[in-house]
Symmetry: C2
Subunit: 437 residues, 2 copies
Amino acid sequence: MDSLRVGLVGFGTVGAGVAEILVNHKQRLAARSGKSIQLVRAAVRNPSKRESPLLQGVALSADGLDVARDPNVDVVLELIGGLEPARQIVRTALENGKHVVTANKALLCEHGEELFAAAKKAGRTIAFEAAVAGGVPIIHVLGQSMAANQITEIQAIINGTSNYILTEMFRNGASYGDAVRRAQEIGYAESDPSMDVQGTDAAQKLGLLTQLAYGTRVTPDRFLVQGIDTLELADLRYADMLGYAVKLVATAKLVAGRLEMHTQPTLVRKDDPLAKVEGANNVISLTGDILGETWFSGMGAGREATASAVVADVIDLAVGRAQLTFGHLDLWGNRPKFELQPAEEIVRRYYLRFNVEDKPHVMADLTDILGRNGISLSSVIQHESPEVEETSPGTTQTVPLVIMTHRTTEGRYRKAAAELDKLTCVRLPRVCLPVAG
Amino acid sequence: MDSLRVGLVGFGTVGAGVAEILVNHKQRLAARSGKSIQLVRAAVRNPSKRESPLLQGVALSADGLDVARDPNVDVVLELIGGLEPARQIVRTALENGKHVVTANKALLCEHGEELFAAAKKAGRTIAFEAAVAGGVPIIHVLGQSMAANQITEIQAIINGTSNYILTEMFRNGASYGDAVRRAQEIGYAESDPSMDVQGTDAAQKLGLLTQLAYGTRVTPDRFLVQGIDTLELADLRYADMLGYAVKLVATAKLVAGRLEMHTQPTLVRKDDPLAKVEGANNVISLTGDILGETWFSGMGAGREATASAVVADVIDLAVGRAQLTFGHLDLWGNRPKFELQPAEEIVRRYYLRFNVEDKPHVMADLTDILGRNGISLSSVIQHESPEVEETSPGTTQTVPLVIMTHRTTEGRYRKAAAELDKLTCVRLPRVCLPVAG
């Protein structure tokens, strides 16, 4: 039986998970790939981890470049994350005639064009199923299963950490801060959770999906990206009253031949499959021009889901399928690309929450501004203010005012918001969340 | 650019849908497959359909065997359904050196072993993504994406017609008969709906999935198959009260090294993703020993979903991927197969509904029989009987009695049921539905 020799760069959570599958399921992998898949080399930075029984008989070094240059290695698994030295390791591996499997969405989002071109030049393959939603084979689906279709819409919850935090807030009435701490305690959020909660991680993944589905490269700095870090429990409760759940939704859809993209906390109707995904799970909805809508859901990240996706790519390389897929992927613009729709022109409904002074004319002033900017209201929630027991003399009590608008453009809303900010009767926070659909 | 010449057998709903994609999206298919995909030959039985503009320039005949033997054809699409002459056409095509794409689950369920062997002998490929849940790329997922995993459980709603009927009954309070008529009116159910409503269609699909996931061929005559045709609206209502939805669920899971299989109307907890799938949609949940659980959902059948899956297979053949996958699929028992668990030994909870006479001791008699057979109760619903206004003298009024049991075996239930049938105070129908999980 032929063999496929694997070099592993990175022995963290995912790296160790991959090694475990490669070492403990040799027979299974051989039956499914037709090759003996052997872990022959690994770069492990932490000396204490080199003693792992999974690495017995494996040549070790501290530097990933050693693996990328090793003539005994056929496939390099880049599992260290981050931009450098990951970029250099992947380039070196390709230039040394090796295929690469990576779970690094940040790397592909930032340097994908360069690395895919290097792979093409070297006649080698980059496989990256694990880079987006490890538990959902979305890269396979976009590259193969939907091939008869032009994708017309992607709607996805692809940051498990944010979805866990939102679920925790809504289900247990936790504040944003408490929910983040809980996510950190159980290992869903890093000690610095900003990539997740600011929406960057989801936006990078959306960039990759967009490149596959639309042949168009769009980096997160070019579309609307907003995280869950400014949400309050109150917004989740009001949305619930109105029949919606709040989810961090990444969207890329064709509208009149242009690409509308955004990653934002979004109101999703409760009967929509996206609204029903709880905890750290991911869900991706794809609409094809022939097929209609299909949903995929599973664990987004974590050791097992990511390792399982990495090993599926290794098997695909052993079988030879990954090479064929990579050769036909629409990553180099061999079809008309789509222009990005300017954010100002995006048409949606909005959920707005204001803190307003509880006195006459406030509602009239506010709706006048919205109306003059062509924004009409579909519903309003303003509860009676509680009986004032103690207010300092001279202060005016504020009450929350929640408005759902009819469809309007982002540009109109921004213009109205600038005017609203000048009203003394409207206090911060001024919350604005788009509504899906 | 190389070309791939396609011969179409069958020009019904799906066949015409496939022709439409092949003819109207030539450029798209060429970009994604690297080949010019040409519809060169078709077998169309209905003479009036031969005038279709989609068939202009296509050599036509009435007999599918002509297509299977045509030396100008590289790939035969078998889209006529049924066992014969489909079997003969597929065999002939393979023996004449052509690849085959089929959407025919009945054919593969019945004659798959013979046909796969014939394909292997001829060095050709049978691709069949469209045979199970056209809108869900489940064959790809099982054959590729989950390759690092041993599947441990499949749970699926894979008969769109039945799910539509159940949704119609529950949402609109329709009787079973009215819901079937409604499904027929809008084209979801055939004039003879028995394959769908008796569970046969779902069981055949489960057989195919089982062969892929477990390397074990099991035909529907060897496991529990029960349709939705004996369900009453009352059962859906009682299940709802108890916190469950009733769905036609196809299950194949590993239990202590043996394969537990059944396709039955099943109580599914309302918060389970399976419970939330409505209308003609399909959902498939796969659990892998590494990955955990993943869900896939989309249109199960219909012209577009099936045609889209057929064309994805054609593209895979043009790229060469389908051939590699077929060569590695676990269809010929090159790994240990699993034994089927005898139905009597399957352990589940049950929902039971009886019509019982409204008189003393009935409950005691009934629970005594269950108890002596080792079946303990977890909950009971018995509403007060309505005030009797008019009953013929001498008749005793009956009232419904609903029982949820704790976990027990199918064998114990059957033994108890045989005893219950002898009680004069228990009248038909005696309903028994398993509970998932």
